[in-house]
């Protein structure tokens, strides 16, 4: 009798945790986002190294990077429960913010930029993209999978 009471109590508690657990609905670790983010970071920093040259000499690579940024923003936008990830990518891709899209805008306006500025700006762009990659990496796929197994969702 006592056991049945405790079991019912614990099951009710588990049910409450599951139903009240909004964070379980958060975006889970996404291998594509992580991989794409890493590729964008590498491409962006390599392109920045070339910004002592004329902007017009690199238009193909610039357009490619801008297209990749647009694609990841669109992808993140449509991922469920991903407001923070989407907001972070939107900042990176916004030409009015001082990250990679803002850098490309400045390069276009000035034609070329100084070598010291390239190094310093690379640090800033790299730090911003690292934050997104670290955020994605913090999402623990093992914990999510274990929970789904317990709940019989896998």
């Amino acid at each position: 009798m006592k056991t049945r009471f405790y079991t019912t109590y614990l099951m009710a508690l588990a049910f409450l945790i599951v139903t009240s657990c909004g964070s379980l609905k958060k975006a889970v670790f996404d291998q594509y986002s992580y991989q794409k983010g890493t590729e964008i970071k590498v491409d962006a920093l390599r392109l920045m190294d070339k910004s002592s040259m004329e902007y017009s000499s690199q238009t193909a690579a610039i357009e490619h990077l801008e297209a990749e940024l647009a694609k990841i923003v669109e992808y993140e936008k449509n991922k469920p429960e991903n407001k923070i990830g989407y907001a972070m990518w939107k900042m990176i891709a916004n030409p009015d913010k001082k990250f990679i899209a803002g850098y490309l805008k400045m390069w276009k306006e000035k034609g070329t930029v100084s070598p010291v500025f390239i190094d310093e700006a690379k640090g800033q762009v790299s730090e911003a993209l690292d934050l997104i990659l670290q955020y994605e990496g913090k999402k623990d796929p093992a914990a999510e999978n274990k929970l789904k197994q317990i709940l019989g969702l896998q």
């Binding site: 009798m1 006592k2 000035k110 800033q124």
Partner: protein
Amino acid sequence: MNVKDILKEIKGNLLGLVGEKFEDLKSESKKDVQDFLDASKEKLERWTLFLASGAITPEEYKWLVESQKDLVVLKGLYAAGVSKIKLGHLKNSILDTVINTALGMVLKPNDTEENADA
């Protein structure tokens, strides 16, 4: 632009995002805020020297300072996201413990009910 004023503005924005006074922050958050401010100070001093020596233009200097301010916002988003993830992990652990305890009770060979019947 004065380095001290910029740092004050960055600290104000950062604490505004965290939503607490620096003195009231938990040690982990406090360290995070302080590390970011120290890094900002170092960068601002370096950029000011570059500007004075003509290694970067005033426009480039302004871009870098603004990028540090934008990083504050991005850092705020990151911190909010990570707290949400940590909360999720904590709830998952609680759920795991509750379910394992319940299963342990159900599968226990000699439970109190049997003892009572005996």
